[in-house]
């Protein structure tokens, strides 16, 4: 069974977002997403300093099965990326919510998070996709 940590916000396109203590936002893909993709073999991350907009493309995740776009759940500037994923893309499968994060951004407007799903709503979405 996939995990849906309660402290995160989720996008319908299967990214999660976590607000850090310093007000920056960390983004990754959900446990459900990594499970559907299967073994991740390649991750393309955005460049640091890039401005991304909510629901805009911010990277690509390639698994044994398919290539999928990764979207920025909210607008902001990319301030760091998880370079571990370049040499160890399987980290996304092993630890989607911790070591497998994709990028961190300085949000333009934190209230954009409010339009994201909470864990219960996101889990309901995933369950409905499976049936």
């Amino acid at each position: 069974m996939s995990e849906y940590p309660g402290e995160l916000k989720y996008a319908e396109s299967h990214e999660w977002a976590r607000v850090e203590d310093d007000g920056t936002v960390t983004v990754g893909i959900s446990d459900h997403a990594q499970d559907s993709l299967g073994d991740v073999v390649y991750v393309e991350l955005p460049e640091i300093g890039t401005d991304v907009s909510a629901k805009g493309e911010a990277g690509v995740v390639e698994s044994v099965k398919a290539a999928s776009d990764v979207y920025a759940p909210i607008s902001g500037k990319i301030i760091s990326v998880n370079e571990t994923l370049e040499d160890a893309p399987e980290t996304v499968n092993d630890s989607p919510y911790k070591q497998g994060w994709f990028f961190r951004l300085q949000p333009t407007d934190l209230t954009e998070l409010e339009s994201m799903l909470d864990a219960n709503a996101y889990q309901a979405l995933c369950d409905s996709e499976e049936h």
Binding site: G38, D39, V41, Y42, E44, V60, E62, V64, K65, A67
Partner: protein
């Protein structure tokens, strides 16, 4: 709900992710496709391929029929058990299917793909009219592919536990040479596979298949899904029907020249077109591609030579053995300096002669 093999319930209990595969509910992986791939390259795994179609052929004209039906020549099969890989062509030289045919004591056993089953049977039954022989489909049989460097040893250890049949089956396997199979009672055992590794394909009654699967599982042999089977065959440079070739291309355009037997004395369906194409030269060829940087080559990505479109990828994947992406592509004959377009970016690739990897190691060389 799709068709189910006798192993279906055992797949579910092994944690399989099931997908539709040519109308069958089949396991794509059991957790990690890459782990399963490495198991077959480095030790052993077992794959349920019972969705494939087994057809027995018997009767006095069997040999004459197959010599007319197939692009490779069953005359090469000089002793019972020998196996031959061949394309079955239509009149235009297009590939209807690829298959394995074994010479048996009473005739031939043919294994064709699952997605092409109806088309193949209709074609084969149509062409058999003029011959005194008969095709019998064998849906009662299941196929397990036990593959990997340790496969034969492990299989023999498992079989030995059967007090009644074990010894004879082990002795039978001991005398099998690569690419040879045969009957051991009602089991058909062959040193064949689709992985580029040592292995056995066991074509056995459904109940025996379940027992064998469970015996292998108890001995620690892990299940391999169709996902890993696909990357294993791609590394081994083996074509996949429906992706790398179909009715729209000939074997000459599919890197299958070696499977053609063009002897003057034998006619076969599609031969005339192939002869014409050989004289005229082929405009397209199937080649191997290697991406020397990060990224994944996938089917249908376009291939360019400088700025000219020269074809597309037919199968592509991340190679777990080589740790970079590999592909088969059908391109304009002789095209060089190739790039593949991935999401709008053109990345340089090397053209190579498949196979890419065998026995756990890189084997390809740069082609000219």
């Amino acid at each position: 709900m799709g068709l189910r093999t006798p192993i279906y319930e055992l797949h579910l209990s092994a944690g399989a992710k099931m997908v539709d595969f040519g109308g069958w509910d089949m396991p794509i992986h059991y957790g990690s496709q890459i782990e399963e791939h490495h198991l077959v390259r480095n030790s052993v795994g077992v794959c349920d391929v019972s969705h494939m179609t087994v057809i027995d052929l018997s009767g006095p004209d069997s040999k004459g029929y197959l010599r007319y039906l197939l692009a490779n020549d069953v005359e090469k099969l000089q002793s019972a058990g020998k196996a031959l890989y061949s394309a079955m062509l239509d009149q235009t030289g297009g590939v209807l299917d690829d298959l394995i045919v074994y010479l048996t004591q009473d005739g031939y056993r043919i294994v064709v793909n699952c997605a092409t089953r109806e088309k193949d049977l209709a074609w084969m039954n149509d062409k058999i009219q003029a011959f005194d022989c008969k095709l019998t489909e064998r849906p009662d049989l299941a196929i397990l592919a036990i593959q990997g460097p340790e496969s034969i040893q492990v299989l023999k250890d498992v079989l030995r536990k059967d007090a009644t049949e074990g010894a004879s089956r082990v002795a039978f396997i001991d005398q099998l040479k690569p690419f040879v199979g045969g009957f051991c009672g009602d089991w058909f055992l062959a040193r064949t596979g689709y992985t580029g590794e040592k292995g056995i394909e066991a074509i056995v009654p459904a109940d025996d298949a379940k027992a064998l699967w469970q015996g292998l599982a108890s001995a620690g042999v892990r299940a391999i899904g169709l996902g890993a089977r696909d990357t294993l065959r791609l590394e081994a440079g083996m074509n996949l029907y429906g992706s790398d070739m179909d009715e729209t291309v000939t074997p000459l355009e599919s890197n299958m020249e070696i499977t053609l037997s063009m002897d003057a004395e034998r006619d076969f369906i599609g031969k005339q077109k192939l002869t014409e194409q050989m004289q005229a030269g082929v405009e397209r060829q199937l080649v191997g591609l290697v991406l020397n940087q990060r990224g994944v080559l996938r089917a249908h990505y376009p291939v360019y030579s400088n700025d000219e479109w020269v074809g597309e990828i037919t199968s592509g994947a991340f190679s777990p053995t080589l740790q970079h992406s590999i592909a088969l592509a059908r391109i304009k004959t002789g095209a060089n300096d190739l790039q593949v377009e991935i999401r709008g970016k053109r990345l340089a690739v090397s053209k190579v002669n498949p196979p890419f990897a065998r026995n756990g190691k890189q084997v390809y060389k740069q082609s000219s």
